[in-house]
């Protein structure tokens, strides 16, 4: 339903979609039922000359049932939704699978800086690749991200991953994702961060391992000989499967 418009490109994205559909089904059914009963009652009991309204206090147990039964139904369905919602929540935010690689995401007014670990796969070494507004990851690899901000609050949102996390200056917040599809998608800042908030688009590029290796090689070489010859920026290919 949602992935028709926004592709589901991470391992947990389909679970979030399923949860949304489940909630939609439950509340949609009950909400619609309530609306139908409500409108039905209005139509059925429209004033007619000579017909006096019924005198119902609603205090008798027999009458109260009309409220208390839906009340328990609400409780039961709430519990169902809760269990499902918290399962997904734990998967996305509380569990941390062993990452294959770590990327650093630094937000500031009004750009994203991404630090990739480079060929050795370790951050804070000399072959780290730093990019602005473009994050390169490999399909099917588990990533840990370290999110921070240089000035105000920002929020790191990748709609295709169904992932969102606020960035807080002075703190490093960790999270994870595992892409399941190659392609280029939006990264958005979803926390208002000043007048350039609407100008903070970034892209995530999900590549195959080979494409990524090429990109790493090109950029490492670029970094090493940077003053000499600015090599053409590699344009990673990749599209929707």
């Amino acid at each position: 339903m949602i992935d028709h418009y926004v592709p589901a490109a991470s391992t947990f994205a389909p679970h979030i979609d399923d949860l949304i559909i489940l909630i939609g089904a439950v509340v949609g059914f009950w909400g619609l039922l309530a609306e139908v009963v409500f409108i039905g009652l209005i139509l059925k009991f429209k004033a007619e000359p000579g017909v006096k309204s019924k005198y119902v206090s609603g205090e008798l147990p027999k009458e109260k049932r009309w409220v208390s039964i839906p009340h328990y139904a609400t409780l039961a369905f709430d519990l169902l939704i809760l269990v499902m919602a918290l399962r997904v929540w734990h998967e996305v935010k509380l569990e941390m699978p062993k990452p294959d690689e770590t990327v650093r995401v630094i937000a500031q007014q009004w750009a994203w800086t991404f630090v990739h670990p480079g060929a050795d796969g370790i951050l804070d070494t000399s072959d780290d690749i730093t990019t602005i507004d473009e994050l390169h990851v490999v399909n099917d690899k588990t990533y840990q991200f370290e999110l921070t901000s240089r000035d105000v609050l920002h929020s790191f949102s990748v709609p295709v991953f169904r992932l969102k996390q606020d960035a807080i200056p002075g703190r490093i917040i960790k999270g994870w994702f595992k892409p399941t599809m190659t392609g280029q998608f939006d990264i958005q800042c979803t926390e208002i961060c000043g007048i350039g908030h609407g100008l903070m688009p970034a892209r995530i590029v999900i590549e195959t391992a080979d494409q990524h290796a090429n990109w790493v090689k090109a950029n490492t070489a670029l970094a090493a000989v940077a003053p000499a010859a600015p090599a053409p920026t590699p344009t990673p290919t990749g599209g929707m499967p």
């Binding site: 909630i23 309530a34 009991f45 004033a47 005198y55 703190r171 917040i173 007048i195 609407g198």
Partner: protein, 571 residues
Amino acid sequence: MSAAAATHAEAGHHDHAHHEPGFIEKYLWSTDHKMIGFQYLFTGMLMALVGGFTVYAFRMQLAFPGVAVPGYGRVTASDYNALITTHGSVMIFWVAMPVLIAALGNYLIPLMIGCDDMVFPRLNRLSYQIFLVSAVILMASFFVQGGAFGGAWTAYPPLSAKAEYSLTGTGSSMWLLAVALEFVAFLLGGINFVTTVMNSRAPGMKMFDVPMVVWMIIIASILFMASVGPLVAGAVMLLFDQNFHTGFFDPAKGGDPVLWQHLFWFFGHPEVYVVLLPAMGIVAEIITVFSRKKLFAYKTVLYTAVGTGVLSFFVWAHHQFVAGIDPRMANVFSVTTLLISIPVAEMVFVYIGTLYGGSIRLTTPMLWALAFIGEFLIGGVTGIFLGAAGADIYFHDTYFVIAHFHYTFFPIAFIAVFAAITYWFPKMFGRMMNETFGKVHFWGTIIPFNFIFIPLFVLGTRGDHRRIYDYRHFPDLMKAGMQDLRILATISLLTLLAFQVVFLVNFFVSLKKGPKASKNPWNANTLEWVAPSPPPHGNFPEGLPNVYRGPYEYGHPDRAEDYWPQNVEGA
């Protein structure tokens, strides 16, 4: 002389050359609760125009980015932020709160509990004056250097704390000062409401004879007063951060930006129920009168309202699921958030149950009250998506959230208020409103309203996020059809705004030329209908009414008439 003339003079601001002595004492310095209610009502209506104009300007920008908006000009990024911030703060703090609680509370409480005035009338006057000052400060912030504050109505630091981040140093301090003053005003008002209802009820009126709307305003006031303290503390701290270089919320100085969010939402969530409950109360009054039915399970409604109030203190962190708080807290707050759906849903069930077996008259106030139930239900059920932590990861800060809370706040701040104004207009101004105009306005508001926010639900599920002034920078958000949905929402908004002219015309023409209203045009039971229309100073010239029964005795089998006013003696 009459209240109608008084408010007209106040609203029109052109009656200064008036022959009656002491214009200011009479209309601006009055301690009469009705006059103070009108002052709040008209200030609120004026601020609603400001809120309406801001939404017009930024919705036009969203539908037609970069094109000069007629009547405003080009909306720049900083304008856009100032407009959304002002829209949010004005609609909640300067429209919903003053109209629902202060205006209706001031006007209705003494009349409905059968007393002549509030117990602290001068405190009441002071409350309005502080409120007016706060509104003036907020409006003035548009004209200072840098313009009005643009950090959204939630004002998260460090953006709101430092001028070099927000670029609106003066504007953000003025915004904060205005909000803090506004809270002081409502604090004074709230003390008054609770004390009045405790101590000045008409002879014979027991606690369970108090009409539901009065109960709801009282519970809302208590909620407000118990939750506002931490936010005022936070506002003081933020003001110090802005102006005296303290570092309460500044991570560079060891402060904690998330702390503000806790202080803000600790108030911010109860605030939702602070405005919801009075709206629910208004609807209870109107649906009982126009379906000629006793309110289904009066005590249940009361208990669910108290239950909602209690639970509302435990749900606030659901605004912060992805804001960097401990993710384990989401377990607790998801549970409490879904639990609060139970009392609120129960209240809606009770109202639906009240309709059963009634003799329903679809007058304009009744249409508004019924629309409130129908639309609020949609707002309520869509909240479940956001309270469920797992789904909130995706929906947080998207248009889904916007659509959801407008499906709650629009019914609260406008639908319920229109219900209240059309219902109590005869009492307030002594004249009837025009029903045809009322119905045109009703349909002209309800239909476009749904066409504004249903597209926004769709946009939200497609990942459209909030507070972006130009979506053309985001390729994924400009996919097929998305801009069309934005245009649809904007055109619906324009339609909705246009139909408000019908209301204003109806309101002001009826004020002058409407047919005279009798004491009790709707055959209602509650005590305000015992007083003349409009009530004079002191409310009950024939003496305070004695109360013999609860407020909802409609269709009693022992009576020939289908209503039984609270003050009429009888077995």
